[in-house]
Symmetry: C4
Subunit: 206 residues, 4 copies
C-alpha cells in the first residue's frame, strides 16, 4: 500500500469519498445517515460528503468540493469544520473519516471523564504509522461532544498539539475521527481503532 | 433525502413495503417470519404485509391494500390494527415498520416495569426529526405486550397523545414500532433506535 | 407458507437439504463442517447429509438417501440415528435440522444441570405451531451429550413422549435439533430458537 | 474433504493463499492488513503473503515463494519465521493461517498468565484430527507476544514438542496460529478455534 499518493486529482478525491462511504456502511459504521468522509484534492480543495445523505449510496452529487480556508457552504455537514481543521494543521493529511460505531460510542461515553482510552499490549497497535511494537501505551484523546463546532475544532487543535499520539480522536457519545495520508490509510486506521475498541469492550464484559 | 414524497401511488407503496422487508431481513430484524411493514398510498389506502410470510422475500402477492377505516380483511396480520391506528392519528405518517430485533426485545423486557427507555447524550439522537442536540433526554414509551390488538391500539393512542416524544414505541418482549413521512424516514428512525438500543445494551454489559 | 407439502419427491428432498445447508452456513450455524440436515422423501426414504462435508457447499453427491428402518450406511454421519428416530416417532415430521450455533452451545452448557431452558413472555414464541400467545412458558429439553447415539436416541424418544413441548431439543455443549412438516418449517423453528436463545444470553449479560 | 492433497503445485499453493485471505477477510479475521497465510508447494517452497497488504484482496504479486531453509527475503512479513518453523518441524503440515480475531485477542490476553486455554466438553472439539469425543480436555498453548521472531519460533518449537495438543497456538494480545495438511484443514481448524473461543467468551459474559 503506497503512502506516496498524497495529492489525488479532485475527481480521485470524490471517488475516494464515495468508496469510503460504501465500505463504512457495509461495516455498520454510519447508521441512520450519520458519519462523514473527506479527501484532499491536488488543487488543495477538500471533497467532503454533504449533510444528511445515506453514506452507503453516495453519488458525486452528494460530495461537495470546498476551499480549505473558506466558510463551509450551504448543504455542508455541521461537522465540516472538524475536517477542515485537521487538513489545515497538517499538510500530510490526505483523508479524514468520521464514523459512528457502537464500539466507539459506548467506549467514548464510558471513558469520557478520563478524557482518554489507553490501549496497551495489542499487536494491532502496529497498524498505526510509527508504532513498531505491541509494548506501547497509546492514549486516544476523548473530547466532550459539542454542537459548537468552531470551539470544538479549536479545542481539538490545541490538545492534539504538534505530535498527536494517534491518528484519531473520539467525541464522547458521538464517534471516531481518524485520518491518514490517503483514504486507504485513514480507513485502515479506523479499522484498527474499531478492532481495538471492540477488544476493550469484549474484554471488559467477559 | 426528501420528506416531500408524502403521497406515493399505491404501486409505489407496495414497492416500498417489499423493499423495506428485504432491507430489514438482511439486518436480522425480522426472524422467523416476524415483523410487518406498511405504507400509505396516494388514494389513502394502506399497503401492508400479509400474515406469516417471509419478509425478506416479499412479492406483490404478499402485500394487502386495505382501506384506512375498514376492519382488517382475512389474511391480514393480527397487528394490522396497530399500523392503521398510527395512520389515523397523524396524516403526516406515510410509512410504519415493525421489527423484532434482539436489542429491542431484550431492552423492552428489561425496562418493562419502568414503562420507558431514556436515551440521553447520544449524538445519534439528532437522527430524529426535531432534535438538534445530543443534550436531549428522549423517553421511548414501552407498552406491555398484548394479544388484544384493539385495546392495545387504544392504549398506544392515548399515551402518545398529540406530541409523541419519538417516532416509535416498544412492546415489551415483542419489538419496535417506528414511523416516518416516507419509508426511508421510517427505516432511518428504526435504524437509529436499533443503534441506540444496542449502545445501551453493550454499555450495560461492558 | 404452506404446511401441505408433507411428501416431497426424493429429488425435492435432496434439494431441500442442499438449500438448508447453504442458508445455515450463511448464518454461521454450522462451523467447521458441523451440523447435519435431512428431509423425508415421498417414498419414505430420508435424504441426509453425509459425514464431514462443508454444509455451505453441498452437492447431491454429499446427500445420502437411506431407508427409515435400516442401519445407517458407510459415509453417513454418526448422528444419523437421531434424525431417523424423529422421523420414526412422528409421520408428520418432514425435515430435521441440526445446527451448532454459539448461542445454542453456550446456553445448553449453562443450563445443562437444569435439563431445560424455559422461554416465557416472548412474542416470538408464536413462531412455533400451536402457540398463540406470548403468555406461554415453553420448556426446551436439554440432554447430556453422548457419543452413544443409539442410547441417546432412545433417551430423547422417551423424554419427548407423545406431545413434545417444542419442535426442538438441545444436546449440552453440542447444539440444537429442530424439525417441522417441511424444511421451511424446520428452518423457521431453528431461527426462532436461535433468536430466543440469543435474547436469553444478551439479557443475562446486560 | 480429502487430506490426501499434501503436495500442491506452487501455483496451487499461491491460489490457496489468495483464497484463504479472501475467506478470512470476509469473516473479520484480518483487520487493518493484519494476519498472514502460507501453503507448502510440491517443490518444497512456501507460498506466503507479503508484509502489509490487504489480505482480502490478494493477487499473485502479493504472495512470495520462498525456500524453507533460507532467510526470509525483503518484503516478507516479520512473522514469516513462525510459519517456516512449523513447516520445518512437521512435514505433514501443508498450510498455516495466522489471524487476528477479537475472540483470539481478548481470550489470549485474559489467559496469558495461565499460559493456556482449556477447552472441554464441546462437541466441536471433534473438528480437530484425532479427537473422537467431546469428553476431551484440550489445552491450547499461549505464548507471550514478542517482536523477536527467531526467539519466539524457538520457544514455540520447544513447547509444542513432538505431539502438540492441538493444531494451533495463541500469541497473547496478538492472535491465533493454526495449521493442517491442506489449506482447507487449516481453515477448518481456525474456524473451530474461533467458535470455541467465542463460546468461552460469551459463556463468561452471560
Amino acid at each position: 500500500m503506497s503512502l506516496a499518493i498524497l495529492q489525488a486529482t479532485v475527481a480521485d478525491a470524490v471517488h475516494a469519498v464515495i468508496d469510503a462511504g460504501r465500505v463504512s456502511a457495509a461495516r455498520g459504521w454510519v447508521p441512520a445517515t450519520s458519519g462523514n468522509f473527506s479527501a484532499r484534492g491536488q488543487d488543495g480543495r477538500i471533497a467532503i460528503t454533504a449533510s444528511g445523505v445515506d453514506k452507503g449510496a453516495l453519488t458525486a452529487a452528494d460530495v461537495l468540493e470546498i476551499p480549505l480556508d473558506a466558510l463551509p457552504p450551504a448543504g455542508s455537514s455541521a461537522e465540516t469544520g472538524l475536517h477542515l481543521a485537521l487538513y489545515r494543521r497538517d499538510p500530510a493529511i490526505g483523508a479524514v473519516v468520521h464514523i459512528h460505531s457502537t464500539h466507539a460510542t459506548v467506549l467514548s461515553r464510558r471513558q469520557a471523564s478520563a478524557r482518554e482510552i489507553r490501549l496497551e499490549g495489542y499487536e494491532l497497535l502496529k497498524a498505526f504509522a510509527g508504532i513498531r511494537t505491541h509494548a506501547t501505551r497509546l492514549a486516544v484523546p476523548i473530547f466532550p461532544n459539542s454542537q459548537d463546532i468552531a470551539a470544538l475544532a479549536d479545542e481539538v487543535d490545541r490538545r492534539l498539539g504538534s505530535a498527536p499520539p494517534a491518528p484519531g480522536y473520539l467525541l464522547a457519545g458521538h464517534g471516531l475521527y481518524a485520518w491518514g495520508a490517503t483514504m486507504r490509510d485513514a480507513l485502515r486506521h479506523a479499522e484498527a481503532f474499531e478492532f481495538l475498541f471492540g477488544c476493550e469492550l469484549v474484554g471488559a464484559a467477559a
